[in-house]
Amino acid sequence: MIPELGHFALVLAFVLALVQAVVPLVGAARNNQSMMAVARPAAQGQFLFIVFAYGCLTWAFITSDFSVQLAATNSHSETPLMYKITGVWGNHEGSLLLWAMSLSLWTVAVTVFSRNLPDAFMARVIGVLGFVSLGFIAFMLVTSNPFDRLLPGAPQGRDLNPLLQDPGMIIHPPLLYMGYVGFSVAFAFAIAALLTGRFDAAWARWSRPWTTVAWVFLTAGIAVGSGWAYYELGWGGWWFWDPVENASFIPWLVGTALMHSLAVTEKRGAFRSWTVLLAISAFSLSLLGTFLVRSGVITSVHAFATDPARGMFILALLVIVIGVSLLLYAWRAPKLTGGGSFGLVSRDTTLLGNNVLLAVVAASVLLGTLYPLFLDALNLGKISVGPPYFEAVFVPLMTPVVVLMMFGPFLRWKNDEMGAVVRRLAPAAVVSVLTGVGVAFAIGNPTWRTMLGISLAAWVVLTSFQLLAARLKDRHGGSTSSRLSTIPAAWWGMWLAHFGVGIFIIGVTLVGSIESNLDLRMKEGQQADFAGYTVKFRGVVEADGPNYDAMRATIDLSRDGRAIATLQPEKRVYRAMGMPMTEAALDIGVFRDVYVSLGEQLPEGDWIVSLHYKPFISWIWAGCIFMVLGGILAAADRRYRRLAERSAPAGAAAHAA
């Protein structure tokens, strides 16, 4: 009964989405207040029904109702409660419902937090979001009903894929989806602007916090996914340039460009047409990401569906969204001329340069991701494009981005002098290069990669502090603390996020340069030396979990006779699927992780033990945390809450990012 109620709620949500899509847009076109007023209640009602449907599905999982097909294939009565709940989105249908729910949540957030928007504009934004929602709920109802019954019900479920039974997977999908779907708000603002022709500073200011928050979610989601791959896949890699990772990284790159382009549009009224195009692209690429991951064209743990009808439906949805918005863009964008002019040496130019570079990087990642799929679809052969391609492209293109990123904040908007800035930043540049070369030799890895990475990181860190010092020094008198208190949150956000990039680069560079790995055959009681540590294999015992049987090894890690940690990696077999899993054990530290995983047991009873030494890997996550915190600070800036002054002229507030 409960699953049927859920299904019914989903149908009602579809009806409300239809109302939300059509009525406010017609109302806005006819300037009919009462029709426009339908937008908010329709969106909020839709949210309630989707949450109810989601709750019903979760209930089927929690109560192990295996007459529901989805629960039967993705849960098991012995699955721990947490993974019963997260199992709801560990499959195609449930993850679509999560997608629709986060879209609905974003829409409700817009109705709540953007009360000061003009009614007609608001109606259009909500209407556009309604259309997107309509498409996704229709997709579920037509091709992927999460409430399908299995009659007669299965006596037992098949369990959730063991790879997904992990704490990282509890938060990764919701974060990632909130990020993906969050770009729909910027998209809806852009479409509403195209419909009305309103592209002023106020429009950019409305869009900015929404874009930033979506970017924060996406960044956090990608970082958590990367962390999960690192400790769960059992071989210590943190980024594989796997098509599924790329599917989330491409919108991230474009979203990053969009955030910065919106800043220029708000402050200077420039780049308007480019900003709109980026807003359309960021969301279209999020949809493409969903298509790639969910349709089964990519083969990975994410590809639940291999039903071509579903792929075709998402593809059609994608074509409609991209086609309609680009047509609208082609029709309206020629009117988007003007905006402030700017000199060659100006903050505007650095932001433009980085925007173009980020777009090029996104395009080249997209090429590497899609090209094998095209060839395959056209029967021209099977190829794969691996990490070497992406690294060969990514590093040289991102290097100028990182250099320019720290130049920008030192330059004034509109026009500045090259000589002054170069003189200010030359010492930092020289010290950075020396640091890069010095560190590379000091750690015994004098490669281009290490020198470049450390130089870039040093450049970011040094200029960050120089920027902070400059910010505290200039301005009209007052004590340092009073100057500190006048710095807006957005400026701190910019500073922290850019600083985070530096920390991130340190982690990426050092883990790549000086990590080491050793696969060993070990007997009980045997010792081995590895990366300056002594590793003692104390043996293996059985250690069964709620829904798996495991062999658990105990390994002592010591250094110069001093015990450091006892690590217990496991080899598990999940009972329901009979699927083996490697559960690594980590000793996590600020400057290094030691990572141990179990390979196979050999016929003589020995085990293969895989040891990894991962220097500075925590700095990768720390860098991401700084970026996320920076984004949160930027979005929390007070001026976004003072929307009453919404028609402030472009270029009025010249400070801050």
């Binding site: 002019s341 060659l344 340069g353 173009v356 794969s384 494009v385 691996g386 060969a392 040289p396 083996p580």
Partner: protein, 148 residues
């Protein structure tokens, strides 16, 4: 500088930058493509020697052997028509098993032995890597035409 020449410089610089980026992307692309071949194609000499490529198929039953160090593994990949011997040093994926699908990436030695640097297996029990499925399908088709 006049506004117009400034704009020209900006546009010119942008175009030069884009051209450089495109050149970089295309050259990286050409150098790093990894082609896929079925065991039959490899036996027919269609695969390059000394260049990295992928082979997919089933791990032949009874073919997995470990050397004395316990780390180097020898096995054979088959599309049911032809068999390619493979050697690999390192940890195998959890789902690597005899009789199941797998994809190996590496180079073909002059002795006809494939030296794998990477072994990919399925992500769950019910699922076959598409490259492996493709290889079996090709061999199956070829077998059908011969027998008809």
């Amino acid at each position: 500088m006049k506004a117009r020449s400034k704009r020209l410089m900006l546009v010119g610089g942008g175009v030069a930058l884009l051209a450089a980026a495109v050149a970089l992307v295309l050259s990286a692309f050409q150098q790093n493509l990894v082609f896929f071949h079925t065991p039959t194609e490899v036996m027919e000499g269609k695969a390059p020697t000394g260049k990295t490529f992928r082979i997919g198929g089933l791990v032949e039953d009874g073919s997995i052997q470990r050397e004395a160090d316990g780390l180097t593994v020898r096995f054979a990949i088959t599309d049911t028509a032809k068999v390619i011997p493979v050697s690999y040093r390192g940890t195998l994926p959890d789902l690597f098993k005899e009789g199941k699908g797998a994809v190996v990436q590496g180079t073909l030695g002059p002795d006809g032995q494939f030296r794998a640097t990477e072994v990919l297996a399925k992500h769950d029990e019910n699922y076959m890597p598409p490259e492996a499925a493709h290889a079996l399908e090709q061999a199956h088709k070829a077998g059908m035409t011969v027998s008809q």
